[in-house]
């Protein structure tokens, strides 16, 4: 039984709540598409293990993620027929550090390593030319703050649902508040961890995939944020201005996690 009243379209996009004030497309023509990825927990576990020391066995990882998937399906009223893109992730203990430093020192290099492992001929590039130190903070009450506190002291397993497509950054934050519960809006930690687990999330040869914002975090600039984006067969981390705009190309993740 659904705890939260939300509506998904046939392509697994969560449609914006009628009360949302910031720009979001009411309907989508689903022009920008994620690739058809298999929900292969064993493969994810192997990709994560190649980058991080993961302290649980593969079977336990599978059990934990399946539990999160079940919880998200129940909470969001998703039956098996709904084609929602879900990506498992693992985040190691990160300590009580600045989020920008965590990205610079741990998570972005981890994304790069994971990308290189499966695409040795292509590149992952951090296009932001400066240190990220001091540039990101979790937004209180949107879920990423809970995740940040959790990974300060221990590792987590999580699940990211790529369902907020064609929302402005502000609209995604509004929608995340409406979803509430144990869900959070993906930011620096969970989104980067997602790309370690699934580095090919935006690798699409025949179609253009969407860009993914770290909208669960506030940056040093009110109107700009960080994101992951494909450039051809390559993946990049970058920053761009967004103001109060919406684009077909923009998307955001909603995540659930469990401390290990």
């Amino acid at each position: 039984m659904s705890n939260i009243e939300v509506v998904f379209d046939a392509k697994g996009r969560l449609e914006p709540d009628a009360t949302i004030k910031s720009p979001a497309h009411l309907k989508s023509r689903n022009y920008f598409k994620f690739p058809n990825l298999e929900f292969d927990l064993s493969a994810s576990y192997k990709r994560i293990s190649a980058v991080f020391d993961i302290p649980i066995a593969e079977d336990d990882f599978v059990t934990e993620v399946e539990g999160l998937l079940k919880e998200s399906r129940v909470s969001l009223g998703l039956d098996e027929t709904k084609n929602v893109l879900a990506v498992p992730f693992f985040t190691p203990t990160l300590g009580d550090c600045d989020l920008g430093e965590i990205l610079d020192n741990t998570l972005i290099p981890a994304v790069g390593k994971s990308y290189q492992n499966i695409f040795p001929d292509y590149q992952f590039k951090n296009e932001f030319p400066h240190s990220l130190s001091g540039h990101l903070k979790s937004i209180p009450g949107l879920g990423h703050d809970r995740l940040e506190r959790a990974v300060a002291t221990g590792p987590v397993v999580g699940l990211c649902l790529c369902v907020l497509r064609e929302y402005s950054v502000h609209a995604a934050r509004e929608q995340a508040k409406i979803i509430g519960g144990n869900f959070g809006l993906a930011g620096a930690i969970d989104l980067s961890s997602v790309f370690v687990s699934q580095p090919d999330l935006l690798f699409h040869k025949n179609e253009y995939p969407p860009l993914m914002w770290m909208s669960g975090c506030q940056t040093s600039w009110d109107h700009a944020n960080f994101h992951y984006e494909a450039y051809g067969y390559n993946l990049m981390f970058n920053r761009r201005v967004h103001y109060d705009q919406v684009a077909e190309y923009w998307s955001h993740g909603v995540t659930l996690f469990k401390s290990l």
């Binding site: 296009e127 040869k205 700009a224 067969y233 705009q245 684009a247 077909e248």
Partner: protein
Amino acid sequence: MSATEALMFDKSLTAGEAKKRGDLRNRKPYIADKLAAIADMEEAGEISPIIRLEKSYLCNFQCTHCSAEYYMDRDLKKKETIDDRTKIDMEAVRELSRQADELGLARFVITGGEPLVMRDFDEVVAAIDPDKHYVITDTNGWFLDEVRAFHLKSIGVEKVQMSLDSFVESEHDSFRNKPGSYKRVLRGVDACAAAGLNLILSTVLINGRAKTKEFRDLCQYCTDRGVGLYVSYAKPVGSATDHPEFVIDKEDADILREMEKEFLVFSHMTPSYGSYKGCITVKGIITVTSTGEITPCPYIDMSFGNVMKTPLKEILARGMRNPWTGPHRPDCLIGEDPAFIKLHQTVTAKHKLLPVPYGEGFKDDDSLDRIA
């Protein structure tokens, strides 16, 4: 550090590019300041499109893929149509230059048609004001000998963009329907170098060409000469309307993206010095037609307003509000999005005189699910 400062200290600048910028700053500090401010404008959510000015469509070539064919007298004659719309004059060009300067815009491209056959070319450069705007001219190279190149430099033109559609002489001449044109382009390359004009070569990418040896050889030639190769995706407009097979697919675009790592090659979609615009409609380019209509890119024949009737600022705002042309997107709207291509073809087919006026093509209440 502001975006401007970041660019000034941008270590990614090649020595050649840094030298060019230093030289421009010494000669034209006002323009150098405006160009340096573009990063800050983008940071502030403002746009700084290059203005392509199509004052005349007169041309000595008849190319297979010409996007301006339907604007030319020869095509109107074929359709037995008379274009009685008001044309832009020098006063209108001066006013456009003034408004553009007021908005911080810094770059004009004189295009056409073939700009170097325009009798009033020098007057147009003066009306744009080469001390206020960075002036570029397009050319097919036919008339670009050393004397002409030095003259262009002397009147304030900074850069030449010359078309080279194949590195194989016979293919280029055939595509351009002009025997001898390949040799003239190579002459033009040397002429620009002699006159100290910045140069980029431009070429049209049709479906499958990115995989050919010929294209790779062209990229290598340009890289060896230190000349950038600007790659324009073939669009199903103008003469190429009847060649849907020219339209590239994502694989072509992605191969080109990979080649950017190896060669001095770029497209309108290529990130430049930290600026990732994606599709540059309105945000990175606009075209002003001979009748003063402003379109969001050289290949979209639908107007956002007439600069002789509506302020440039409002026309740009319309373009940015429009759901097709305003938002950030990574692909080429008119070169890759089938729904928009269909909409564009259906709308423009109903009009003998292009571009389609604002309200009949693009409109205030446009939507992405609009059916033509």
